[in-house]
Symmetry: C2
Subunit: 264 residues, 2 copies
């Protein structure tokens, strides 16, 4: 696997995909009042994935592709070989309703090991990426390794639906967490929240339910700056099926899981 060649190819592909998405804004502006916005957006989602899939196949037809649209999870009993894990638009609700705060997310794994990761916040024009072992970048700027922080100074990304009484988490412990940390945020895009952790804008982000394509690219980038990615049980993150997920500054990862997370 020629990492540099794939890197250059992917960087170009992402810019092309973003240009298509940006063009769709103008179309949407025109169509939104007469047509169903959700349908249109679904089309953009699918069209973007179609574009990315064709580009990957043109690059090397032997590579496997694992994506949100059109790929069934049954195909992926393992991550053998070269696997591209693609989310053409992460944060679809933001895309539809806000026309911002969404990303294109692409990861390349080889035999289950993350090799390259790309998350492009299209509207902010911020491309986060990493080649494993070579550091993480946002646009041309190197992202600095994370520094330790105490939990009471931390800002945590968590959606209110996991804080409100629910059937999956002990929300009393979550309430304790909410009142312990300095603040919480929720942006509606797992990839943006992961990149906020990677750049020290948040100290952690967690969710009860994420898919492989939500986390695969972010994990490669996060790894380069020292952020820890696991399930909420502290096990290796699941790249084959939907599961719980947490990314955190390594200084608080263990404490978050052991003191505040109780799955029920």
């Amino acid at each position: 696997m020629d990492v540099i060649s794939i890197h250059e190819y992917t960087m170009e592909m992402i810019q092309e995909a973003a240009t298509r998405i940006r063009q769709s804004f103008t179309e949407k502006m025109e169509i939104e009042t007469k047509a169903n916005a959700n349908d249109l957006v679904t089309n953009i989602d699918k069209e973007t994935e179609q574009f990315i899939v064709e580009k990957i196949q043109a690059y090397d037809a032997s590579h496997r592709i694992f994506g949100e649209e059109g790929m069934s999870e049954e195909q992926f009993a393992d991550l053998k070989g070269v696997v591209w894990i693609v989310d053409p638009i992460d944060g679809t609700m933001n895309f539809i309703r806000q026309q911002r705060n969404f990303t294109i997310s692409i990861a390349i794994y080889e035999d289950g090991i993350g090799k390259l990761g790309y998350i492009y916040d299209v509207v902010r024009d911020e491309l986060y990426y990493a080649i494993a072992g070579q550091g993480a970048y946002v646009n041309e700027k190197r992202i600095q390794p994370l520094e330790p922080i105490e939990l009471d100074k931390a800002i945590i990304g968590i959606n209110a639906s996991w804080v409100a009484k629910n059937n999956r988490l002990n929300t009393e412990k979550i309430a304790k967490l909410i009142h312990t940390v300095r603040g919480t945020r929720s942006y509606g895009s797992a990839t943006i929240e992961m990149m906020y952790v990677a750049t020290g804008r948040l100290e952690s982000y967690m969710s009860m339910r994420l898919s492989p394509w939500d986390i695969a690219a972010g994990a490669v980038i996060a790894h380069e700056v020292g952020a820890k990615c696991t399930t909420l049980k502290g096990e290796p993150m699941n790249l084959l099926a939907q599961d719980t997920f947490i990314i955190a500054n390594p200084s608080i990862h263990e404490q978050l899981i052991s003191e505040y997370i109780e799955l029920i």
Copy 2:
């Protein structure tokens, strides 16, 4: 009160204030590793307000100024005359930790009536503003009036601290709300969340505790597109003291308060 003259003066003043804040980023980059980031930022907060206050006084020394830094609430038993309500940096924690997602917020009221409102998202370079009765704008673009929406399609801005068990709200009802709506977000800046409601990116934003300078400018802008601003009891919003607050698309404002908000 010469509205157009004040408008032109304020537009220029905000750009100058923003330039100073942007310059502080470079200073901060250099200083952050050796000094206390919080102190530095407090200075920037105060320096920006000082700059704004001096500009207002130079414009008309008879105008009253009500701001977060250095102005005591006791001074404001009423809103008689021309009152500028200023928050030099709304979203201070975001400013410190994220260097984004904060705004400059300035409102001008006359005898308690909102006349002009300005909210500048410095890093996105988005200036929301309105002259009462003349519509709301973001940069040069007119913001469209809000369209009705059903609650189950709404995205609500609410911080997890009001969803986690607390002493001020019936959180069982809030949990019901969280599971009813399409989604929730939390950005850590009241002014940004209010402008997301004004532009249809959120349908509501609520908080148990906001100050007059958090909401004064946003209310003028929101009013122009039909968004409703009240306390969580449905009373007129409080511009003299810290209080509860809700802004909402008018089609769901009443329902939110009557069915889901119970202050304890």
